[in-house]
């Protein structure tokens, strides 16, 4: 530890900007009639998504044996239980935790804004996301562009991904000159992620809010899949200044389908040697009891603050990054 390491990494002015930004966010939802809620940070169920790894802790009641608790990777499942209980529209600002992630745009704990709109369709929610970001950044005229996931590859790379398999996409990555691609073993979605992160992402949302919507069903996560000749997941992402800022869904409300996705996720985790915990039965029971059709979204507050303050590294907007925590 260096001598100066007790000091905050962020300038005090940036922490002030964080407080002001959060005040504008809360004001936005107060005006919109969306209720702020809190749900547990530590839960008995871990994330099942193979792209996420939960941090683990343990809890022991008085005189009892400790049982594992997992720090939330997002408050999604608990908030959906509130929706099923009839909460109406709700939002939450909370800390979430992801193991194994660290970099310029990643920190193992970060602040997420998550909200749900029962009775809304995801397209309408995308408009509200744009309004929220404009309000938070005090940039009321920030323009919006919307691309489908397929168009995302078409415009910058001239690549039509329809019908391309993993091998085709590997060749596309090599044509794009992505160094080391020849040594990678990836799934179809893995190759798409490689092209996205290496050749597309940094150009997205430059001076505007770029929404990407309608994802391949294999990347549906917890979004509803729309049956069309070419089925798409009703999912969207928001990019601003080259950063992924938000991810939203037309929420899956079908308990049986949800159970199938959980077990498919756990199967994929097991196949690559990741730990798995049983699915969240309380959440599945809430879906069985009936969750209203809803649209929901999660937005990274730290990255939004980076845009607001013109910072390049997430550490510059955190009081104490993990190395000084």
């Amino acid at each position: 530890m260096t001598e100066a390491s007790w000091r905050p990494a962020a300038e005090l002015g940036t922490l002030r900007a964080r407080a002001d930004l959060l005040a504008r966010v809360r004001g936005f939802f107060a005006r919109a009639g969306v209720m702020e809620v809190e749900t547990p940070v530590a839960s008995r169920a871990a994330a099942t998504d193979p792209a996420l790894e939960s941090l683990r802790t343990a809890w022991a009641g008085p005189g009892a044996a400790p049982q594992p608790l997992y720090l939330q990777t997002s408050p999604e499942l608990a908030m959906k239980r509130l929706l099923a209980a009839g909460s109406g529209p709700i939002f939450q600002v909370c800390k979430v935790f992801r193991d194994g992630e660290r970099g310029r745009l990643h920190h193992p704990e970060f602040t997420l804004l998550e909200w749900y709109r029962p009775g809304w369709d995801y397209r309408r929610l995308m408009e509200e996301v744009a309004e929220l970001v404009r309000t938070a950044l005090e940039r009321p005229r920030l323009p919006v562009e919307t691309l489908s996931y397929q168009e995302l590859f078409q415009t910058p790379l001239g690549l039509d991904i329809t019908g391309l398999d993993a091998e085709d996409l590997c060749r596309a990555a090599l044509r794009q000159g992505i160094a080391g691609a020849e040594d990678l073993e990836l799934s179809r979605d893995g190759w798409l992620d490689l092209l996205l992160t290496h050749r597309i992402e940094s150009g997205l949302g430059r001076g505007c809010l770029t929404f990407v919507c309608d994802y391949p069903p294999s990347q549906a996560a917890l979004a509803r899949v729309r049956d069309e000749p070419e089925p798409v997941a009703e999912r969207f992402e928001l990019y601003l200044e080259g950063m992924e800022l938000a991810n939203g869904f037309q929420e899956l409300t079908d308990a049986a389908e949800q159970r199938r996705r959980f077990s498919a996720d756990l199967g994929r985790r097991a196949a690559v040697g990741m730990s798995g915990s049983p699915p969240d039965e309380a959440f599945l029971a809430a879906l069985e009891a009936g969750m209203p059709e809803s649209a929901g979204v999660a937005l990274g507050i730290d990255r939004l603050l980076m845009v607001a303050t013109g910072r390049r590294h997430i550490d510059e907007v955190l009081a104490f990054p993990v190395e000084r925590a």
């Binding site: 792209a51 194994g100 970099g103 990643h106 160094a179 979605d189 992620d193 490689l194 290496h198 991810n247």
Partner: protein
């Protein structure tokens, strides 16, 4: 040899890629929220000096390169190889022209140099940051000019050519910064 996982990647780490030793120059973690995590790295080939990009799936590991830096005294050149000695163990090693590279024009016998060893063989030799060398040839400057403005080329005892102020003459010792190849000052004897 040990392995390094991508989560240990950082600038300065030495790794083996395609049979060659590399040093990591830059490491960037990229990951879509719901997708595959990658480490995008810039690495420098320690044999050729070339910098290339590489991408790894996060969580993969690569073999560590048995590369370390040490200080050794330059003894002599036998016409083909350069001989160095560890000042503590007195162990001697030879380096070829490839490893010595441009450094050859700055070093003379007895100098203590930085040596990067890979599996015990010198990969590269670094001259001390500052060396004192004798001028073997330079035009006599104009009499009375002590301003140093303009300057002139001077050939040093090792064959290197540096720009020196007009008032510095053949036979004098000068101090040179080997990182920039620039004249620093006149030097006292020795």
């Amino acid at each position: 040899m040990a392995n390094y996982s991508t989560n240990e990647f950082r600038g300065g780490l030495k790794v083996m890629l395609d049979g060659d030793p590399y040093v990591i120059v830059e490491n960037e973690f990229v990951k879509p929220g719901k997708g595959q995590a990658f480490n995008r790295v810039k690495v420098r080939n320690l044999k050729t000096g070339r910098v290339v990009e590489k991408t790894f799936k996060s969580g993969e590991s690569v073999e560590a390169a048995d590369v370390h830096d040490t200080q050794m005294q330059y003894l002599y050149n036998d016409g083909e190889l350069w001989h160095f000695m560890d000042p503590e163990s007195f162990e001697q090693l030879t380096a070829d022209a490839n490893a010595v590279g441009e450094t050859v024009k700055w070093i003379k016998e007895q100098d203590v140099c930085g040596v990067t060893l890979w599996n015990g063989v010198p990969l590269s030799i670094e001259a001390p940051n500052f060396v004192v060398l004798e001028i073997t040839e330079t035009d006599p400057g104009l009499k009375g000019d002590t301003s140093g403005g303009g300057g002139k080329p001077a050939t040093l005892e090792t064959g290197a050519v540096v720009r020196v102020p007009l008032f510095v003459q053949t036979g004098e010792l000068i101090k040179v910064d080997t990182r920039t190849g620039e004249y620093v000052s006149r030097a006292k004897d020795g």
